[in-house]
């Protein structure tokens, strides 16, 4: 693969002799081919992406109440970073985010990969129906979803009612002695359980999304490979671990990267379930919630910018470690 892209082989050598000028042009163009293909990104990112970057770097060294207008910025050196780093809520909300991300993210992939595999095995029609069903939460408006979960999590909501059912049923009663129906679990009001409550919603909402990603990945695996393995006597499980999993690596890599980044930006679910950050905020507030509040409600944009960069650093470090560990296989360079 040492040949540079687009350089012609023997055929074009012949044509070079005959018509040198246009071909040189062609060569220049083809030398630049990858850049041509990338030009949409370069242009649009150049217009919409670069300026915000500089703006946010600049802002993180300013004291700025946005309602006073752009002219009101005041340079305050690294004060914003000092403030941010000495703020216990920053660490707390980061830790909350990480916990929720792990609680929801790990099961997401552990479920999504085998489920996508099974669905593909089930045949076209079943796959289509099931994936459509699983994808619904991803497209259902956050309003409806959160409202429904918010109500299900109430004291007399469905979650507590189900536990009461198990508690009262003689078979399962011994397992549920810890539960006192007079004190229903405060799913969205108690700090001790809020992270699980949020994680469940996140898991439920994005599982279908991951299944879709992995289904698309499964589509790259030819049936012939499975057939060949079948002839060699491999059972379903072996075909999954020995054929599907290795070939899915680029997609697993993509999916997990998305989950890491997406979870670090988790906002809506925690916002609604904590009743707009009024109850169980101590353990339920994510770093994005906190960031949004500082920027737009507390109107301390400078500090928010500093926190953004700290958060950026944290995500980048996580992603870098992840890329270092798995990138070679996940990106499949060479």
């Amino acid at each position: 693969m040492s040949r540079s892209p687009g350089i012609g082989t023997q055929g074009s050598d012949v044509s070079q002799l005959e018509m040198p000028a246009p071909n040189r042009l062609k060569e220049i163009i083809s030398q630049g081919t990858p850049y041509w293909f990338l030009s949409p990104w370069v242009i649009i990112y150049g217009i919409f992406g670069i300026f915000p970057l500089f703006f946010m770097v600049f802002l993180s060294f300013q004291d700025w109440n946005p309602s006073e207008g752009l002219g009101a910025m005041q340079y305050i050196g690294s004060t914003n970073y000092v403030k941010a780093f000495t703020d216990p809520l920053l660490y707390k909300s980061m830790w909350n985010t990480l916990t929720i991300a792990l609680l929801s993210g790990v099961p997401q992939h552990l479920f999504a990969i085998p489920m996508a595999y099974i669905l593909v095995q089930l045949g076209e029609r079943a796959r289509q129906w099931f994936t459509s069903a699983y994808f619904l939460p991803y497209i259902t408006s956050t309003v409806a979803v959160s409202m429904i979960f918010f109500q299900m999590y109430q004291g007399n909501g469905i979650f507590n009612n189900v536990i009461v059912m198990f508690h009262d049923w003689s078979v399962t009663a011994p397992l549920f002695t810890w539960f006192d129906p007079d004190y229903p679990i405060q799913w969205v009001r108690a700090n001790s359980v809020i992270q699980y409550s949020i994680a469940l919603v996140v898991f439920w909402k994005y599982l279908g999304f991951n299944i879709v990603i992995y289904s698309a990945g499964m589509a790259t695996i030819s049936n012939d490979l499975y057939e060949a393995a079948k002839i060699d006597g491999a059972n379903t499980y072996q075909r999954f671990t020995q054929i599907a999993l290795p070939l899915l690596k680029p997609f697993i890599f993509f999916g997990v990267t998305m989950t890491i980044i997406g979870n670090m930006n988790l906002f809506d679910e925690s916002y609604v379930l904590t009743n707009a950050l009024k109850t169980a905020t101590k353990d339920g507030m994510t770093i994005s919630n906190y960031l949004f509040r500082i920027a737009w409600e507390d109107q301390q944009m400078g500090m928010a910018a500093a926190i953004s960069w700290i958060l950026f650093g944290v995500i980048a470090i996580f992603t870098a470690i992840y890329f270092y560990l798995f990138g070679r296989e996940g990106l499949q360079e060479n």
């Binding site: 892209p5 082989t9 055929g11 081919t33 990858p34 850049y35 293909f37 990338l38 949409p40 990104w41 649009i44 990112y45 217009i47 919409f48 992406g49 300026f51 915000p52 703006f55 946010m56 489920m115 669905l119 796959r127 129906w129 459509s132 069903a133 699983y134 994808f135 619904l136 939460p137 497209i139 259902t140 408006s141 956050t142 409806a144 429904i148 439920w204 279908g208 999304f209 879709v212 990603i213 698309a216 990945g217 589509a219 790259t220 030819s222 049936n223 680029p250 890599f253 993509f254 990267t257 980044i261 994005s288 960031l291 920027a295 737009w296 944009m301 953004s308 950026f312 992603t319 990106l331």
Partner: protein
């Protein structure tokens, strides 16, 4: 005799697993469909009915009233049209842009490739909360206030989409195929558009869903850029929320109706998603 070697035992374990898995798949599907069905139920109730409904599935009688309220309080169908324009244009263009960029990153080796890919990945990690102000300044400067263009263009180069296409190309497009095409004298852009694009169908279908859902549900940018008859459906529905006497019936009906186009898009593109499998994959 060891029970584990018993064929019947193995068979029944297998059956148990099979039906267990199937049961799980169906159960989980029920939980994901439930809110959808439940919002149909809720949209037939008025405020009082919703607040006292609990989890019962009884239909109410206020569907028409909710619909009228929805039409009275929002320019509902204008909003749907605007959202559709933004989502369709944004999705179609981003399919081209993302696939071009992703393809480029996957097959070519060139100076700055890793740097560009790195910048793309890093740009995903910057919290979007603060970029709203500079974004607004740019749109204002370009004279694009209150245009749909300003709301979809910046998202047509979604790094996530580029990354997805790149991964898909790496996994599914054999280099030999590209080499062979080159030997046949096909131009670079031709190879991409006639050979690669069709093979990318499943990933482009996935990308289309992701982009469409994102553009349709995107809230902050339309909120600050669009108003009046340019506004999108999600800001309209949100505008009814937040007060204690918010007309929940109309809100839920509105969000239910505005979900239907997304389902349509999903069903259509989900058919394409697996087409690689049925039409015989390349690798």
């Amino acid at each position: 005799m060891n029970i584990f070697d018993n064929a019947l035992f193995q068979k029944s374990i297998y059956a148990f697993l099979k039906y267990g898995v199937l049961a799980f798949l169906i159960l989980f599907a029920m939980t994901t469909i439930f809110p959808f069905v439940y919002s149909i139920v809720l949209s037939t109730h008025d405020q009082e009915g919703i607040s006292s409904l609990g989890v019962s599935m009884g239909l109410g009688i206020d569907l028409v009233e909710n619909y009228n309220e929805l039409l009275q309080r929002t320019a509902f169908w204008t909003g749907i049209t605007n959202s559709a324009i933004i989502a369709i244009l944004g999705t179609v263009i981003s399919i081209f842009f993302c696939s071009m960029c992703g393809y480029s990153l996957a097959v070519y080796k060139f100076k700055g490739r890793n740097v560009i890919f790195g910048i793309m990945l890093l740009s995903m990690m910057i919290p979007p909360v603060l970029s709203l102000i500079p974004y607004f300044l740019i749109v204002d400067m370009l004279g694009l206030m209150n245009t749909h263009f300003a709301v979809w263009v910046p998202f047509t180069i979604a790094p996530m989409g580029i990354f997805l296409v790149r991964q898909y190309v790496v996994a599914s497009i054999p280099k030999d195929l590209l080499e062979a095409a080159k030997l046949d004298g096909a131009g670079e852009f031709r190879i991409y558009s006639t050979i690669v694009m069709p093979l990318l169908k499943p990933s482009l279908a996935t990308l289309a869903i992701i982009q469409f859902v994102f553009l349709w549900n995107n809230f902050l940018q339309p909120l600050v850029i669009l108003e009046g008859d340019k506004a999108v459906i999600i800001t309209m529905i949100r505008s009814m929320q937040g007060t204690p006497d918010a007309p929940m019936g109309a809100i839920i009906l509105g969000s239910f109706l505005s979900m239907l186009p997304l389902i349509l898009v999903f069903v259509v593109s989900s058919k394409q998603m697996i087409s690689g499998l049925t039409s015989g994959a390349v690798k």
